[in-house]
């Protein structure tokens, strides 16, 4: 299933070239006028004289071998451009994922096990944070923590490990911000629902102490929906990372994707899109595996139900 998704996605990405108004050459060149020799090179390189499916095959084959074409604007190989920037994006997403998991799941469990004021405050704050888009969170964070308090830098990547961590903190928080809400909510709902289940009553009736009860019966069972939602949420971070990277001037894949889209550098757009979609599909596949591991009733691939 995931292979099919990937294949079809790559087809769409490739096919976008042909959806563009005008002929493929003008799309590739971004509408710029090119000398005849350059046009010839493009024709050769992209096999533009061959039927559509053959071209697709060449493109895909190249892509799998790491050759994603040439960036018109930068005059560099797309693959090397991606290679240089992938760690920025990966680092950002991982950092944000960590924040989401720790705060999201933590607050959800906290709210579920301590009803009352704690519960209400978590509910309200998640309702608000769910509505705050990452770029709005970005500007508020920059305002408060960078300009007013001066704790974190506002822009750029930083050099070296600790400097990078500093530079990435605000962006990671901005990226994580609205996603924390749904993970927290689902965690809370899952823990509450599991607490009410009959098998928990069985365990209570046998005198299992509450610490063990929570760990072995409530949390372990709630882990199933929690893991699924966390996985999907983290996968969706891949796309939103572009926004945060742009807001904080980080040189990640997403930011470059946006720039390439603006300058109509199609080869780059195709290449980066392919990488991002592949990552997205991969993470979803991992969630499927995790789900099957956590829930013995389920066999691989049936999460869609």
């Amino acid at each position: 299933m995931l292979l099919a998704s990937l294949l079809i996605a790559s087809f769409v990405i490739f096919g976008a070239l042909y959806l563009a108004p005008g002929n493929p050459i003008s799309a590739l060149s971004g509408g710029r006028a090119l000398p005849a020799s350059a046009m010839h090179v493009l024709e050769q390189r992209y096999h533009l004289n061959q039927p559509f499916l053959t071209q697709y095959w060449y493109w895909l084959d190249n892509a799998l071998h790491g050759n994603l074409g040439l960036s018109i604007t930068l005059q560099e190989n797309v693959s090397s451009v991606i290679g240089a920037r992938i760690w920025t994006t990966a680092g950002l997403v991982l950092y944000a994922a960590l924040i989401i998991l720790v705060i999201g799941i933590g607050s959800g469990i906290f709210a579920a096990l301590r009803p009352g004021l704690a519960d209400t405050s978590v509910l309200v704050s998640t309702a608000v944070s769910a509505a705050v888009p990452s770029f709005v969170a970005a500007i508020v964070l920059v305002l408060v923590f960078s300009v007013k308090l001066g704790w974190f830098p506002a822009l750029g990547n930083g050099a070296g490990f600790w400097s990078s961590v500093q530079h990435f903190t605000l962006p990671a928080v901005a990226l994580a911000f609205s996603s924390i809400a749904i993970v927290s909510r689902v965690t809370r709902a899952a823990v509450r629902e599991e607490s009410d289940r009959e098998h928990v009553q069985t365990a209570i009736s046998r005198g299992i102490p509450s610490r063990l009860l929570v760990r072995r019966h409530i949390l372990r069972n709630a882990a199933i929906p929690i893991a699924t939602v966390s996985g999907i949420t983290i996968a969706s971070l891949i796309a939103v990372a572009a926004v945060v990277e742009t807001a904080f001037s980080l040189n990640g894949l997403g930011a470059y994707l946006v720039q390439a889209a603006e300058s109509k550098d199609l080869a780059v757009v195709q290449g980066i899109s392919l990488v991002l979609v592949a990552a997205f599909v991969l993470i979803n596949a991992l969630v499927d595996v995790l789900y099957a591991v956590l829930d013995p009733r389920v066999s691989l691939g049936s999460r869609a139900q």
Binding site: T202, G207, I208, S210, L294
Partner: protein, 356 residues
Amino acid sequence: MTASDQDANVPTAEGAAGALTASDGPAAAPLLEVDGLTVRLPVGGVKRAVLRDVSLTVRAGEAVGLVGESGSGKSMTARAIDRLLPGGAEVDGQIRCSGRDVSELAGADLRAFRTKVAMIFQDPRAHVNPVRRIGDFMTEAMRTNLGVPPRYAQMRALDMLAQVGIDDGERRMRQYPHELSGGMLQRVMIAAALLTDPRLLLADEPTTALDVTTQAEVMAILDELRREYGLAMLFITHDLELAAAICDRTVVMYAGQIVEVRSSELLHDDPLHPYTAALAAARPDIARTTARLRAIPGRPLSAFEAPADECAFAPRCPHASDACRAGVPGLTALDGGLSRCVRAAELRGQLTVSHE
């Protein structure tokens, strides 16, 4: 939540258990005494009575049946005994186990109590954790509360599985609940309940969720093992005949109250309360043909729906008189049993079932 009551330092099963297994001789205090139990639960935001002044005793080694329809409060009684009532419940009256007040138990004592009182639930599939293996389910209580080493616990579990009629126990222990049938799962639950060496079994409609053939098998196993280990049992069911078949005494409940207590042999032929007679009559007799099934007119009421100042069964009772509507009847002793019917003595002998 009741679970938080049982957190404590080190479980001292011996100390508390000793109080619960005090001498089982005939002259000793009954194992379980429920005394004037009244429970109110929030229903739709308002506190309503679900149990009214319920009193019963179970002696060591004795099987008592608790029979009633939906809403009669039978399940609630068992839950009250095991302190599994939903949050927000108000409890009046006392429940004593071997003389100790159950509601005062906390921490290690409560856990020890729960080791000695085992509950078997109605729907095994909902009551067993689906993500943990059978072996884990069976040995959990032993390992946690009794400090039994895992390997020894496994051996005991295997032995018990054989006793409930599950062969290939090794393989079964490694399986997950969804891989076992309902009947097997219930046998596993019975086996697991017996592993902690309980003195009292609370069986809440253990076979209702199973199909008919499996019911008979599981019932046979439960009955046999109970007698073999000499355990007391409170057997909850809606099936009057079933309770009478395997229990020494039968208690009938209606609208949250006890309406009759009678020894099982006498229950069918000489009931002391019109409701019991009606229940028995409503069951079709396989040996006779009849034009119309006898049903009790109206529907069973729960405690808070029943009229509060008259006999709860009066609206549906064929023998109701003005005396019945004068006030809530008390329990009268009659021929070794108890009845909550004002006219019990005069109706004696007329309440027998007749399938005409």
